[in-house]
Symmetry: D2
Subunit: 139 residues, 4 copies
């Protein structure tokens, strides 16, 4: 899935480029758009009593983006075993197709008290949807 | 009360000055520090079942601040009648004493379902503490 | 002009609603989209050597927005005299048409050294474009 | 070096914990405080014509922090060869000494046009200061 997003002025810093912390937010936007597209909007997941906290972020900055730069963010499930979920992202500049950022986030699933749960046991529907999209990546 | 704060790099924008939206956040920091100082830390207020949402912000930008600028933020209760609360702020540069921002925020008090409440009826202790500090301003 | 925008997760706070400082950023987004639409994209304005700092923000919060809320932000030039510019905003929830925020920002025009300038003298084209859109509001 | 910082309300999200992107900003604050302490404040580095962009961020989230949590951020130079710089961070909760975040950022040095430079050639003073602090880590 490709999530399209352009850079806002308030997201640039004193170097006149996007502050590196903001890409972590763009990744979240792309992740939420992806979940929505596969039928699992994050607000619905929260309503069902689950949360998907971030366990780890790895982000490589290849090229700076500026105010107004249009970015395409590709989102993919890289790994999912019912307990942990790894999502991969490639952020490119639409105009040149040059890579801006390459990243990965790792997640678990918890109940509302932030206790980790097994999705396989707790919610078969979410489990199978995520599994389906992971399988498609592997093929 | 004076709240002291220096500007972080990620708070500057492409003009190399603090992005104007960040002062709204500095005001919140100063407000929380003030509430703590008068014995009403905001987390305790939330634990007691109350919230103090912002109804209005008025902010005048007098002089830009840069990365590293040390600011003094003066916080005062300007008005309080048990229902609405008006807080005033003056942000100055520590080095020159020049005025950076002059602002005002208006608030009400609500329960956890965001229904407005009368503090006079619901919590006499918070009510009287706020009143005391407002009175000191008036004299 | 109407600028459409939905709320990101990272823009909500501990009350599970959009943090009030973020609306100031949404206003900037809407303002930039408006300037682009009338043929004055902000990056071009900066390239021509001008900046449009914010002198004042007034923002009234009518109703909280949540993660996923789709907002329509109406942007209008309320006043422009070649020196100062006042822009008005009405943020509504798309689904209900209820008002979320009502706001106003005041601006001046400066050169790259942040010295205020008269747009009428310095750049007739920008001056007349802004005037044209202000006139349309007045009629 | 230990950089102390407490969590602001606007840094929490709908889960009532610090949004994961904000730690990336705390790391920057800690890094700037560290550079200042070793005699290389970042604004001075920029004035000398150098920038230290972030090439990579790796961040592991161990435990959530909440509004008001006081954090101690330990900062260390893990590696420096004159071209690339790796900095390590451990964020702990002051009260319990529990680990909140463990992270690493990688940087290079550039001139004002964002061209990578060798610090050893371009600025012996900064080079040697960084080297000195790296050596201390190794011993």
């Amino acid at each position: 899935m490709i999530y399209k997003r352009s850079v806002n002025y308030y997201e640039t810093d004193g170097m006149r480029i996007v502050h590196h912390s903001n890409y972590i937010r763009y990744l979240e936007e792309a992740r939420c758009a992806f979940l929505k597209q596969i039928g699992l909007p994050y607000d619905k997941i929260e309503e069902m009593g689950f949360m998907i906290p971030v366990l780890e972020v790895n982000c490589k900055y290849k090229m700076p983006a500026k105010f107004g730069t249009v970015m395409n963010i590709e989102v993919k499930i890289k790994q999912f075993d019912g307990i942990k979920l790894t999502i991969g992202y490639i952020v490119t500049e639409e105009k040149t197709n040059n890579r801006i950022v390459q990243a990965e986030t790792k997640h678990c699933f918890t109940n509302q008290n932030m206790k980790p749960i097994s999705l396989k046991k707790e919610n078969r529907e979410i489990y199978e949807t995520l599994l389906k999209y992971q399988e498609q990546v592997e093929k």
